[in-house]
């Protein structure tokens, strides 16, 4: 293809997206669109999978059967979300094994929030309430994204997320209404998860160079700062209503903008965790890689069995 031909294809492509048409896997697409989507969608899938680790750790220690079935179902959902997203990404021509390889080698990133430890039961509350709450805001914005398989996966995921946040908030609420020790636990979890949750929306707009392109392709509908503001505005009243305090001395209602002003995020910490120096980066990857490696013989055995069965069937047919 000549350069002029590619250029006109690209223009037609951008025009289709601008008209709100969806792009499907076999359609022609610019290489950059394909690569950007493989990167973002696989990272999203990795986040769901790694996201099972901090919570999975608490399933056996849930304080009641009610809490246990809810947490189990939530963690299973996250595994499902990872699977929807992996298969949606595979339609762009990358294999599942290649994606796992990128995750395990550290080449692909996942959401930094999962590199923080879940120390007490109250963290199960804070994670569902804040982390899933922030994820919902990001994901709702993606339901209308331009790549068909991604948008469809997001619609399915968003339907399932709401219970995650509600069960988390319920855990926090019950602790906040409990003994002084229980309330202190809830406050402590909020103190530790608040700032990392704000970081989930990514760098500030002026340090987020891909925003313009992502807006065009509808990978973003609002900027990082707009989404972060939305999260703060909706979460502050939820904390107040159960008597917990957001750990930010600069937090103040701003009548003029009809939203909260809030303090500066510790961006050094953000970049440290992104670069692999968070409290649990190594532990998470170790758990993930060992699960994958220890499962190898099971996957091999299943494949060998399937091939043997197939062979037997073919022989009988002769």
């Amino acid at each position: 293809m000549s350069e002029a031909q590619i250029k006109s294809l690209e223009e037609e492509f951008e025009a289709r997206i601008a008209r709100d048409e969806k792009i499907e896997p076999k359609d022609w697409m610019p290489e950059k669109y394909r690569k950007t989507h493989i990167r973002q969608m696989s990272q999203h899938a990795h986040s769901e999978i790694v996201g099972m680790l901090p919570e999975g750790n608490w399933i056996t220690r849930a304080p009641s059967l009610r809490r246990k079935v809810a947490l189990l179902a939530k963690v299973q959902d996250e595994g499902g979300h990872g699977l929807y997203l992996y298969s949606a990404t595979e339609t762009l021509g990358i294999t599942r094994d290649e994606m796992f390889e990128q995750l395990h080698s550290g080449k692909a990133k996942y959401s930094s929030i999962f590199n923080y430890p879940a120390i007490t039961w109250a963290d199960m509350g804070a994670i569902g309430w804040l982390v899933d709450g922030a994820a919902i805001i990001n994901q709702v914005a993606l339901c209308g994204t331009s790549f068909g398989p991604y948008a469809r996966a997001m619609v399915r995921i968003c339907k399932e997320e709401s219970f995650h946040q509600r069960q988390g908030y319920e855990i926090t609420l019950k602790l906040a209404q409990g003994t002084p020790e229980q309330k202190a636990m809830a406050q402590d979890a909020l103190d530790r998860w608040w700032w990392p949750s704000l970081m989930m929306f990514g760098p500030k707009d002026d340090e987020s160079p891909n925003t313009v392109q992502s807006m065009k392709w509808k990978l973003k509908r609002k900027t990082n700062d707009e989404l972060r503001q939305q999260f703060v505005d909706q979460t502050v009243p939820q904390a107040e209503s159960i008597g917990l305090t957001i750990p930010d001395p600069d937090l103040k209602w701003n009548e003029e903008k009809q939203g909260y002003d809030f303090g500066e995020i510790d961006w050094d910490e953000f970049w440290q965790v992104v670069k692999g120096h968070g409290p649990c980066n190594k532990e998470r990857m170790k758990a993930r890689v060992s699960a994958w490696e220890n499962g190898q013989w099971v996957r091999d055995a299943a494949m060998a069995y399937a091939e043997k069965q197939q062979l037997r069937k073919e022989k009988q047919a002769v």
Binding site: K26, D27, L83, S87, R96, A302, M303, A306
Partner: protein, 94 residues
């Protein structure tokens, strides 16, 4: 050995009376496992009453680059639609 499990496409009938609809795909060693995995991945909330799985490699898809030859010929065949035919207003039930 290191052999990736094949990819399967999953179709789910959400309730009797409706057709099976494409829900997504997954990896499994064989058809039985594909069905079981499809149940866990795609019907955790009563989304279905029946599941079909088919190995992705068995699906032949049309090429969007040929969409013009394939689908445009239907565009100028307005006589396939009822509104093409002029009838007097007083004619009812037609």
């Amino acid at each position: 050995m290191k052999k990736e499990w094949p990819l399967w496409e999953v179709f789910v009938r959400s309730k009797n009376g409706l057709e099976h609809r494409h829900f997504g795909s997954l990896h499994a060693a064989d058809a039985d496992m594909a069905l079981e995995n499809a149940r866990d991945v795609y019907t955790r909330r009563n989304e279905g009453v029946s599941i079909w799985v088919v190995e992705s490699k068995h699906i032949t898809a049309s090429n969007p680059e040929h969409n013009a030859e394939l689908f445009e010929p239907a565009q100028d065949k307005v006589y396939r639609h009822p509104t093409f035919y002029d009838l007097p207003d007083e004619i009812k039930h037609m």
